[in-house]
Symmetry: none
């Protein structure tokens, strides 16, 4: 059986976030795992379920509802999802998805390369909706794509804000894309699909469950460079996306609000407990994310001076902005290091000439060497 | 000349935050510095100004307007001010004050031992006023004294909130206490003086200047264990108090607000840049301060009875309110201790005479020693 079809059949068999199957697929290939499952001696619940899947019918149905099934290695596959393979489980869920059902005119790979998640409560306030929409519109104007979960409240405001800007938006759902949830967002999903994409780990026909929402949240965190939490009450599903984003070392940001507002309780707690950095607008989001843009992987043959740096040195060096400067305190916060550790590392970086301190004691990159025309 | 009178004359001569005179006084004593200034060979602007001061007249005027002049070593002197001696200058200002003019029925030393600064913008919003007032009332109910600068806006809301609670409040002014600024707060200052204190580094008759406000801010930061910034626009004097609080290693806290509010710009920036910890209510303020309260350095020569207390004893002792009483259960909750541990510590504090139990079994401070008329 073709690898893509086997992955599709396996994805239709297991529940999202079932990492043991993902690990077996990584080791033996999907075709072999699928064959073992349907033709092997074992007779567990997974086998029973696998035997209800008709490969040709699944392929046909996927095409019939206007979807495509994207797998690792495809041009459209979001490279960042690979980070899920090595990530600690959250709620017993983990693993890179076997494949994704995608619908829409956007290119999933290109959109996720510059995607930022904007998430929050369904029961949002007018304030939260307005801030989510404004930040998303500005991120979109800045060339970033906003990714969210398609829910009522903050998610919808984020998608709509992005649609009002220059870029497409991505909605990652916890149901089959032909059964989008909430059904009241049918028109919104159509608009999203025009220029952007709808994405799901579940095959057509499937409905959301609590665990599917939790597994979906890991995709929201993994497919983006950073997550902005706009509003959420003390107990909120959006909190789970932040847990994933932190587990994946993504940049986690939160928007403050009135201390009298129940829907700002979770953002405030995240900021207070240093699980998120406070942001008030899109410019601050972009500022936090831009240094990470430089982390783009390089060809292995190309030697760079930074190859000699220890991990903590490299991390801090990459946080020093290309233009302007930061105080040691600001760098410590962004690196998630103690002030003392940060100063020690900055000292070493300074000695080696990677960074310089200005008269105000702030850290910046040294003046650039003129490049020799080649 | 008596040391107190010499300090008073020097304080009436120099501008607040003039650390060279403070250092000379620390080394040679105020009487010698004063004598050198008025009778010496030098003839600078300081000498000219000193020669306008008539010691007996200054002492008489201080008493006539109902003020007292408190100096280091006095029972009423705030021990925390000693931290200013070793602190880096801010705006070229530094140094422990030579003495303080004080007015009011409160005991400056006792009040500052449990004081928290609540500061912010004069041009505050209704939201900011309401939050400042509520946090201050709750801090007051928790036995803490709120200290602020007596200005319009957040300062006034903080003082009023504290007055509505159980403890006295402290206003530190940048003018002579008989010329309180703003004059529209005359009634508020009278209410503050009833149970609390008005404090100034300036003698009767003096008016505020920009530098005097900046020098005053160092006292607000130094006399408290922590500073809560409620609201301030991008450029605000309250920002300067936070700079001092950080320079003095005090706990700096800031209250978030709507990102659309100009008066929350500074609190948000402080939180974002890790200069302040986000707080949303008094309980969070107390949580941040209770373990750190023990860090407060003291003047090396000045022994306080509480120096002998173990950390858990000191923590519990500082939670016993200045007025009124608390049950062991209430104290246990506020200290974050088990009931059993709390009772054991209260027993030790009671044996040592730090606290007493009333007929209802509630814990309070022992009756104050009558002050000897001097």
């Amino acid at each position: 059986m073709e690898e893509r079809t086997a992955r599709m059949c396996l994805a239709a068999t297991i529940e999202p976030g079932h990492s043991r199957v993902a690990e077996a697929v990584a080791e033996f290939g999907a075709a072999e795992v699928w064959a073992e499952l349907v033709d092997g001696d074992q007779d567990g619940p997974l086998t029973s379920r696998a035997r209800t899947v008709t490969p040709a019918e699944l392929v046909e149905r996927t095409a019939r509802v206007g979807q495509r099934f994207v797998i690792p290695g495809d041009d459209e596959w979001p490279a960042r999802l690979a980070d899920l393979a090595g990530c600690e489980p959250v709620n017993q869920l983990s693993g890179e998805p076997l494949g994704l059902w995608v619908r829409g005119g956007g290119h999933l790979g290109e959109l996720t390369a510059r995607a930022i998640a904007v998430v929050g409560s369904r029961a949002s306030s007018a304030y939260g909706d307005s801030v989510a929409s404004e930040i998303s519109a500005d991120l979109s104007e800045g060339g970033r794509a906003v990714l969210s979960g398609g829910a009522y409240g903050i998610d919808a405001a984020a998608h709509r804000g992005c649609l009002a800007g220059r870029t497409a938006t991505l909605a990652v759902l916890a149901s089959g894309l032909d059964q989008p949830y909430p059904s009241g967002h049918g028109q919104l999903f159509e608009r999203i699909a025009t220029s952007g994409v709808l994405v799901s780990e579940l095959p057509p026909g499937e409905h959301p469950t609590r665990m599917r929402f939790l597994a979906r949240n890991r995709l929201i965190a993994a497919m983006t460079t950073g997550t902005v939490m706009v509003e959420a009450a003390a107990r909120s599903g959006a909190r789970n996306t932040v847990t994933w984003a932190n587990a994946l070392s993504r940049v986690v940001m939160a928007v403050p609000g009135p201390v009298t507002s129940a829907t700002s309780v979770t953002p405030h707690r995240l900021i207070r407990e240093a699980e998120a950095v406070l942001v008030t607008n899109a410019a601050e989001v972009l500022e936090l994310l831009s240094p990470l843009g430089r982390r783009v992987p390089r060809a292995p043959t190309e030697q760079r001076p930074t190859d000699e740096l220890a991990p903590d040195e490299l991390r801090l060096f990459e946080l020093v902005p290309g233009r302007g400067s930061l105080s040691a305190g600001e760098l410590a916060v962004r690196a998630g290091m103690s002030m003392l550790a940060c100063l020690a590392v900055l000292g070493r970086l300074g000695d080696a000439g990677f960074v310089v301190q200005d008269d105000a004691g702030r850290w910046r990159l040294p003046p650039r060497q003129p490049r020799v025309a080649g």
